[in-house]
């Protein structure tokens, strides 16, 4: 009852019913056609969508990746664009498209380009963006990339188009890490933000939990049970080189890089009960941050690096608290409900996504940190592990749907959801990487 009263009008009443019906159809229909391991499906519609025409890129059928199709899918998935049919249109970045033609087709913007194979095996990927309404060329760019980076080039084009048209940075070229469990096999994956092109970073027959990105996107910290206890490792994503940074007596868990990348917050039980500690990025200079006789865990830094939000049961039930990174007395942040965990702070520092228990259900919530009000963002009841995209426009989380663990993204208003469909394994612990790779 409490959570219902906290919900915004957007998530209540008729809006909730209609969204539920919208979600059910496309998601159910999508599953049989999923050929890749992951497939992203969108549900819900933004209030205003910019109509855009993205044509097939010249020669894209001869490239290893369908560049134009990836750009189109990225833009659509953001919920801010509506793709127009461009079948049969032959344009590239050198064309002089007839703007009045495209205006009459209803386009506000037009994107075209090419993907040409170079003599050395790389690809020259080019694009151009036109503002159809104003009838002008907004600019373009070219990228010379290896076949392995064709998807990245497509995502970077989508990011540029998104930024030029919305004024905000896109996150299509960022990456997401997550963990799957298939039978006895645990795998830590790194995937493009659209859920495609997943590559495994670590495979183990023992559990892997709590992946966390370094702020430069080059390293992943995580907890591995490979030595039959929880030990924190940091792994270079590109080379696979890994080092254990916290392997003390007891359990070592919940790593979180500071925004400057110089420190790690971790949970250690070496002094008897799980407490927060800070250490250098290689595990040096360990010092205790919290001193309670209760559980303190799940540290997450504020973007300015000055504070740490964490979970503690010092008040008798797990609640979220905030402490200065320099130490001191924590202050309590959540007050509603008897179980609030897994805080994630938005990149602007103004909002906090977290999980609350409501009866037997675990629900993703979003709190306005200035006012303290919270609202639910989902209709599912096993939500876990929220993480913000670096532009703050999306939150990724794990949940359970149709008897499987799945990854979903939602806009912070809860209106637009996309699902990364797992066809073979249970997926969990998603964490959105930073800009750059």
């Amino acid at each position: 009852m409490k959570t219902r009263s906290q919900q915004s009008p957007l998530t209540g009443g008729l809006a909730r019913l209609s969204r539920r019906s919208v979600i059910a159809l496309p998601l159910a229909a999508a599953v049989p056609f999923a050929r890749a391991q992951f497939r992203v499906e969108i549900a819900g519609v933004g209030a205003t969508q910019l109509p855009i025409a993205v044509t097939r890129f010249r020669d894209e059928e001869r490239a290893a990746q369908p560049v134009g199709a990836i750009v189109r899918a990225d833009l659509e998935r953001s919920g801010l664009f509506r793709n127009l049919d461009t079948a049969g249109v032959a344009l590239d970045e050198t064309s002089q498209p007839n703007m009045s033609d495209w205006r009459s087709r209803g386009a506000d913007a037009l994107v075209s380009g090419s993907a040409t194979r170079l003599a050395d095996g790389r690809y020259d990927v080019r694009y151009r963006l036109w503002d159809v309404v104003k009838g002008r060329d907004v600019g373009g760019q070219s990228y010379a990339v290896s076949a392995a980076d064709l998807r990245l080039a497509a995502h970077q084009i989508a990011d540029q188009v998104y930024e030029k048209l919305t004024g905000e940075k896109g996150v299509f070229s960022t990456r997401i890490a997550y963990v799957t469990k298939a039978g006895p096999r645990y795998t830590l994956w790194v995937t493009d933000a659209d859920g495609e092109g997943a590559q495994s970073a670590l495979q183990s027959s023992e559990p892997i939990i709590s992946p966390a990105w370094s702020p430069d996107g080059r390293e992943l910290a995580y907890v591995s049970f490979e030595s039959r206890k929880a030990v924190v490792y940091v792994q270079d994503v590109g080379t696979g080189k890994r080092r254990s940074v916290a392997n003390f007596r007891g359990s070592n868990s919940a790593p979180a890089f500071s925004p400057d990348g110089k420190q790690l917050a971790v949970t250690l039980s070496r002094d008897g009960i799980s407490q927060l500690y800070l250490m250098g990025r290689d595990g040096e200079n360990v010092h205790r941050l919290t001193t309670s006789s209760s559980i303190d865990t799940e540290a997450t830094w504020t973007p300015d690096g000055r504070s740490i939000y964490f979970v503690s049961d010092r008040g008798g039930s797990p609640q979220i608290y905030r402490i200065s990174a320099a130490g001191g007395n924590p202050e309590r942040v959540t007050f509603n409900g008897s179980y609030n965990i897994s805080p994630a702070i938005s990149p602007d520092g103004k909002q906090m996504a977290y999980i609350t228990r409501d009866g037997g259900a675990f629900k993703l919530q979003l709190m306005d940190l200035a006012g303290g009000s919270s609202r639910g963002l989902t209709e599912t009841s096993d939500d876990e592990s929220p993480s913000f995209a670096p532009n703050g426009r999306l939150i990724i989380y794990a949940t359970r749907d149709g008897g499987r663990d799945v990854l979903m993204t939602t806009t912070p208003d809860g209106k637009i959801k996309t699902r990364l469909v797992s066809t073979t394994a249970d997926v969990r612990e998603p964490v959105w990487g930073p800009y750059g790779r």
Partner: protein, 173 residues
């Protein structure tokens, strides 16, 4: 009773062991093993050496009978009275051999966050470790670790399943 069993068991065991190789008359049933060895047991020296003494380690037998799992109530870290025997039995074992090491692994049921459950399981493991140290076990013989909700002993949902998963397991290292 106790002394008699203590003294009887080894005797029977030795007899049984010896019976494998030689024709000790344990009973009169016509079980004939016509292998050359048994036929000439003792005569050729190819059977069990006559100096052999089979050892029966009652402590080890008892150890195997001592429970290794402590179950917990929901949201609780209290070692219940019914598991007193498990704790005391293991304490006795560890106290009798200071070279023995035990890892206490805490576990939770599947509900809730992974990291918070890891901390909960740790608290359960620490509770068992504390009970053991109160009975004289050295700190250096023990380590409390946690698997949180990652390693359920029974899969599925519902209280019957959850009750079996809220546990601490003692594992010799």
């Amino acid at each position: 009773m106790k002394p008699s069993i203590k003294f009887l068991l080894p005797t029977v065991a030795i007899a049984l062991l010896a019976g494998c190789a030689s024709s000790v008359k344990l009973d009169e049933t016509p079980v004939e093993t016509r292998t050359p060895n048994s036929a000439n047991a003792g005569a050729t020296g190819t059977g069990a050496p006559k100096s052999q003494v089979a050892n029966v380690d009652l402590a080890a037998q008892n150890a195997a009978q001592i429970g290794k799992v402590v179950y917990f109530d929901y949201d609780s870290y209290v070692v219940k009275d019914e598991f007193r025997a498990v704790v005391e039995g293991n304490a006795k074992l560890l106290n009798s051999d200071r070279k023995k090491h035990v890892v206490v692994e805490g576990h939770t049921d599947e509900r809730g966050g992974r990291e918070y459950n890891l901390a909960l399981g740790q608290k359960r493991a620490e509770a068992v470790v504390k009970s053991l140290t109160l009975l004289g076990v050295q700190d250096s013989q023990l380590e409390a670790v946690s698997y949180g909700k990652e390693r359920p002993s029974v899969s599925g949902t519902g209280e019957a399943v959850w009750a079996k998963n809220r546990r601490a397991e003692l594992r010799e290292r």
